[in-house]
Symmetry: D2
Subunit: 389 residues, 4 copies
């Protein structure tokens, strides 16, 4: 099999840094489809529907390196999904895919792809949390202007801003983390009745899920797409938080603000004074792709009868892109704040003389921004405590 | 105060049946904003920041009937949100809104509106679950065609189809139900530092949340919009499930299929043969509004600095519409299947002679669709058991 | 008829300034539906399908003030759209609505509402163009930093920035202006065949369109929704341009930039140093609502058979909101730059010392930003010339 | 250069049939970026900014086969876009890219990619129009049920349904066709002032546009994204029309309706009775991707200052996907109806006995559906006449 990329090589590196990109490529999908078939064969052997020998032969063949992605893709065009050509190839070796339908393979593969892509995504969120926590800790007392509607309002510290980022990242990590063990296998047969297994179907389902380390659903979910929608919700949250962080970095990095600067990159060749927040910009771009594709996934909830005529097919690319783009957004945001240069003097200098107007109007005796920080330290502590849990 | 509607009266009844519509109107928002001020005054009295007498005077004034919505709306246009004019009016009566910012009021009100709108929404979901459960129970053995890609595939029963709807509704109810106790109060002051309270802020926050029966956040969330995004995720799921049910009803009600018919409505005056699935159609329309407005809410995650310049303002209408439209979708779907006439004979008659082709190809001995139902009953039992939990 | 608002009074003034808001309210829709019936009656009289007396009686009754919107809305809930109850009321007076279907009324009313809402919307665009042109003219030579990726890059003038806004507004005006005379009437009868008119149908269609000053379509467009999609495209462009202008104002108004300030509004009571760009913020919020609702309109293109089961119903609210929100975005953006205070000294002072780095790297002999403005004046002239066409 | 795909090979064939897919791949983008540099070099030579020899050397090197896409993509990740590494490579050969900025290259390339992708897309629309026209002609008198809200309403003919499809496709073709000559080149330099050309800039712009056969814009449009939005509008319309056609095919192909069937494909291996409308299903899936990505493009209108920090970067992938997915939707819809098997007997037999209820209620003397077809033939003629224009 020649190497294959699942998306643009020209733009890919710009858009989709982070481990989730690789985990959602063509090869990852192909292997997940093969893992479905191997797992099914093993369960069939356990249930004595096929022999151990047959199961072993099928499982041994379920290696992505043995297949040509382009060939399978071309054959897929004939029947509408790539599960079919894979089954056809495996059936030359043994009784593969018995009792299953192509949607069983595609849905299970989608969950495997999602679960595997969540590993690097959660790592990237962990990285982002670590970077935010470090900033929150280091800059607990770094006074800066609190800005509402992009106007200076009252003082805050950079530590609290970073603690806010941290809270958001922890929220996202909690949401996606809670999904990892909830993602279900799919096995329903042609119309979700498992009819071809006779009475054995209900017992097979949990065994099969166990083989693939996925949750066993009570009922097939061919057209009850809750698992897809829950992934979409977690991704949209994660991408949005990455967008929040990146947006703040871009604003703080403005020439006229100059309070932060990304690590050594983003220099312009002809304009060396420019220090583009290149990673934050990538995060913003990725957030938009992630959000748009999550919307496609939510749209697919309205699925017709026992298999949707189009919305299901739209999910594959949308899920892949949503995972990769969320991963790209989170990884780029994490990179952006991981090596962030913080100009604490500029932060302090930028604080407007009038920033204590509220404090004085309310009768507080304050002579410097440091005198009007209220609960900043307590809030930072709470965020760090949650991080350290 | 003269009566006021929060949205179209001409289309409202068509689009937004269900209790969530009322719970999200102008009056509901106004009362929620006033509840914020009353709760804040009570906490201020508990903390001896104001006197009991002052608190009582403010709280007594916090009744929506004492305000003219149109007048507040007009004043709101000057400063950008309706919290300001309310504070101005209350301050004539006492030291209202001390230490708070308009976003504290708006965000807390948004959570109160959401929490109150979730009550009828959960009831509508409960109604939909009940209707689906009844159909699943009654039609456990009502054989019909299982349809994939809108083609007859293998036999199923109408009970299993309804059990699928039930699972989806239970998923939605679980998702929204889990939110009810998670919705946080907001109190951060101008830039989320609670500075004007000095050291007292962190202690005030949980007391204040308690007053309003909302969750106390660890840190103000002015620009970490996880609570908004979580509501959006739950609403998108719920609306989508309603869309799934409604879509199935519309397809089953087609003249050429004729397997179900909504209760006595939807008749055409000149074409009495037509039995439009009017409630299901409303559900489909509402699902689109719900989904579009949830997308606006996800977009607002990327909020600038300590208060977003526009995305926050976009949330108010989007949240209101998302709640109302989801409520409309769920209520209409529940209505649609609550009085559903099921033509069991037609269902059986519609089953194509070739529907046992798979069974025969696989070597099963089957002579009627009834012989090839696999795990249908088990799956129905599981769905009903979950409903009865 | 008691007064009725078509949307929130609490938020309405914040969100939807501009004439398009009023033009899309319940009353506007109701009158448009009645105009359909009156126009149809007049054409029927011309074609001798009904008498002049009958036509006059119907037309005389077609006055929105004679109807109770809430009552019609309630009746609409029974049959799925508000055209039905209106017809029922008119039929007590004469042979109204002959040969037409409710979608004929709703679609024609939608086009009338759109056409009428375009009048104030185009005026608001005209206002925005005028304000931008004035700024382009006045600030032709006002040097400021050109900013790419929010970093200072090379010098420009505020005149060129305003000229860019002007070009965008002129693009939007051209796009929406081209639609005004393209919006079609709808008359197709139950399934677009005009069957009840026998052979007379095709001849009636242009006469009818003429009565309502709409374009006569070649073929009914009940489920070929090009007119809706074209409106959506024009609105999305217009709202987006308003969002571009508003975003620039918000960035320029930042405390640390301080180059512009909106007219006398947006002051914070406790923080008098704050000068919130309140109008620009409203424009940003409206742009998001406009865009989301345009997406709903594009989605409705995929309409089933001869009348869509849900997507059509979703259009009414989406079209109304898209028109009103686009109007709100444009009007707010126009207001924002109409009274814009421009701090030309600050603009010049903000220009970074390094902004000529590119020029020097390329070997240009430049000693001040003014020496490196290239084609700025020519581009401003071109934009103003297009405005003056 | 090793071959490279711009998107999934596994799903690509399923999702993106049609010529637009290839025209939007990595190689197409790379060549477009190189065409920008070659065109710029030629214009520079005409303006004597560089020598003919230099221009020839640069132009000769502007061949995508000379570059390694993955290498450029990797380098792009460092600076944020792929134009930079290309310029770097070319500058080893001569004075490439003088006076231009990377956005000039990317935007011009985007327009070249769009223009080139429109060629096969317009061909696919032409094919769809031809197929629809043929059906309209052949089935002018093929009576079938007109269906509203998926209920049989009054008779129509399959010819009129196909004529409706034809009208929609002609609308889409007109919209996209009008864009071909409107797509502008981009040349503005770092901040849209063309400063490095001194006085020569304005004269260079039309010469440059001419070289690339693009429209010369009056003013650089780095952050006035009308051209992008106009493409998005045309694509959303085209994809939506494809979705309309595909949706009708899927509904007509239902087992219980059985009025049409796609050509020899879509057969299920185990359920030979199933005839999946596989092409129509692909069209539906592609429409969703197209629409979602068009929404990203509309969102990018709100671009910051002189170059957007993220939304611009989001455009590349979104434009590519919107073009490819629209192409996929149109090609699949065209394929679907090109070899459509129409069961005219079944159409006639499916007509419900009650379908003349309206006619009789209105007093028409009708004894068969054929007697109540009104203007069907006239409308078909009009659609065909427009096609033949």
């Amino acid at each position: 099999m020649r190497p294959s990329s699942s998306r643009s090589e020209l733009f890919g590196a710009v858009e989709a840094r982070g481990g989730a990109a690789e985990a959602t490529g063509d090869r990852a999908w192909l292997q997940a489809l093969l893992d479905f078939e191997a797992g099914l064969a093993r369960v069939h052997a356990r249930a004595r529907l096929i022999t151990e020998t047959e199961s072993d032969a099928i499982a041994a063949a379920c290696d992505a390196d043995r297949f040509d992605i382009a060939e399978i893709g071309a054959a897929a065009a004939e029947i509408g999904n790539p599960a079919g050509p894979i089954v056809k190839a495996l059936r030359e070796l043994g009784p593969a895919h018995k009792g299953a339908t192509s949607q069983d393979a595609m849905d299970t593969a989608a969950m495997l792809v999602a679960k595997r892509a969540l590993v690097p995504l959660l790592e990237d969120l962990h990285g982002a949390a670590g970077a935010a926590a470090l900033l929150a800790h280091q800059h607990r007392d770094t006074v800066m202007a609190g800005r509402t509607l992009l106007q200076q309002a009252v003082p805050t510290t950079f530590g609290l801003k970073a603690a806010g980022w941290l809270m958001g990242v922890l929220d996202a990590r909690a949401a996606l983390g809670a999904l990892v063990d909830r993602l279900p296998a799919q096995l329903g047969g042609a119309a979700g009745t498992l009819a071809s297994y006779g009475d054995q179907g209900p017992a097979l389902l949990p065994l099969f899920a166990e083989e693939l380390n996925l949750r066993a659903p009570d009922v097939p979910w061919h057209t009850i797409r809750t698992p897809i929608a829950e992934v979409a919700g977690g991704l949209a949250l994660s991408a949005g938080i990455a967008g929040k962080i990146a947006g703040d970095v871009i604003l703080l990095a403005q020439t006229e603000v100059g309070e932060v600067r990304e690590g050594d990159n983003g220099e312009s060749s002809t304009m060396p004074q420019k220090r583009n927040p290149a990673r934050a910009i990538v995060a913003v771009a990725c957030e938009r792709h992630a959000r748009a594709n999550c919307a496609v996934l939510f749209e697919s909830l309205a699925a017709e009868h026992e298999r949707a005529a189009g919305s299901w097919h739209a999910e594959w690319h949308a899920l892949t892109t949503a995972l990769a783009a969320t991963g790209g957004a989170v990884a780029a945001a994490a990179d952006s704040i991981d090596e962030l240069y913080v100009d604490t003097e500029r932060m302090r200098r930028n604080v407007d003389d009038d920033i204590l107007a509220e404090a004085r109007a309310l009768g507080h005796e304050v002579s410097a921004p440091e005198d009007y920080l209220g609960a900043v330290s307590v809030f930072i502590d709470r965020a760090l405590a949650r991080y350290n849990e």
